[in-house]
Symmetry: C2
Subunit: 204 residues, 2 copies
Amino acid sequence: MLTYFCVEMRPRDEHKEYKIRQKAIELIVAEGLDGFGVNKLARSAGVSPATIYIYYKDKEELISSICVGVAEKMMTFSLQNFSPDMDFADGLRVQWRNRLEYFMQCPLDMEFIEIMRYTHFYEKVTAMLTVNFGQVLGAFMRNAEKKQQLIPLPFEVYWAVAYAPLYQLIKFHNQGNSYVNSSFKLDDKLMEQALGLVLKALKP
Amino acid sequence: MLTYFCVEMRPRDEHKEYKIRQKAIELIVAEGLDGFGVNKLARSAGVSPATIYIYYKDKEELISSICVGVAEKMMTFSLQNFSPDMDFADGLRVQWRNRLEYFMQCPLDMEFIEIMRYTHFYEKVTAMLTVNFGQVLGAFMRNAEKKQQLIPLPFEVYWAVAYAPLYQLIKFHNQGNSYVNSSFKLDDKLMEQALGLVLKALKP
DNA sequence: TTTAAATAAGCGAATGCTCACTTATTTTTG
DNA sequence: CAAAAATAAGTGAGCATTCGCTTATTTAAA
């Protein structure tokens, strides 16, 4: 943006942009992608529909931009206190904890991403995740193999066993019930239990 | 339906109904739930929009009905050759194989269900799955515990570790790539490798 | 210090278009 | 013929987007 070259202009109300994004996430989580509209969003955020088009070219760009923003936030969060050359069990535990903590703090973000996952908006997210996530966690896996703390495996098999169970537990928690229990709450103890099983599977 | 009470009437063209359902799945997988419309579907299936409303009350019921239909088909398929009192490793292997085979035969169905999973249409599916799936697989789990072939676990932890990795592998296959590899194909060997890890995790 | 020029932010009220759904009519069967 | 199936041609509601305008802010000339 060329903002700082222009000396004569009215500054943007940052709060407005924030509120638009926040309300968009809320609306999409509450009513799904269909049922989400620009006019509805404008009313909900307390701005004019036209204002939204100052910030975003069109509906497509609005949703895309929010999508990538949330995904970036999640990724940054889940790499906190993590380094690819950590001990395998410790590193995996940090990853699990970070993801769980993020989801506890921002449950809407999680649900939002899940909704977006099977739309064409998610393609840009995948591209971003592939570069950042893949490199760091790929390195982590190779290091652990070298230290003989992890069975040598194709990346996909490793990923599926190492992380998919956690996401499934979070899904159960989100929908509040699984196929047998009518109410399910994920906590630290359950997470540790599942992580224990996963480590057992992956350690030599 | 009262079809067989009426003696004078023109019979329905069963092929039309089938084609409507089939094309609906194709369209939703290709373009997502947004971008899917009744008029478009009608053109694509070679019928009039009004015809669709002879079979279904409204768009909502159309999608719901297809959703539940596909889910029922999947469930039936994945319980083939399975019984709750099978040996644990054998039973789990049958489950994995069935799911994998179904997905190989009907990849569209799989993608369709994934798209629907985070919409309100899925609630009816969850209800159906809870009753049928939960009872059979819950029994399987308890039997395996009794026979000491499975560590005692909360159902959700068991489910997450036992099945989530398979679904993740199928997702990687469907999208054709993972976070590090630009092309990924799931086959029997990879499935067996992952299943081996899962069994290692779950056996005492 | 005042004031006017300049400019982006912001808005309410359309606009045209697409969509789910309906109606009036024709076709196909027993 | 009777009756349901099937349709072509709508209809009106709701949608994304835009237009013409006002407001807020800054700077620089007077």
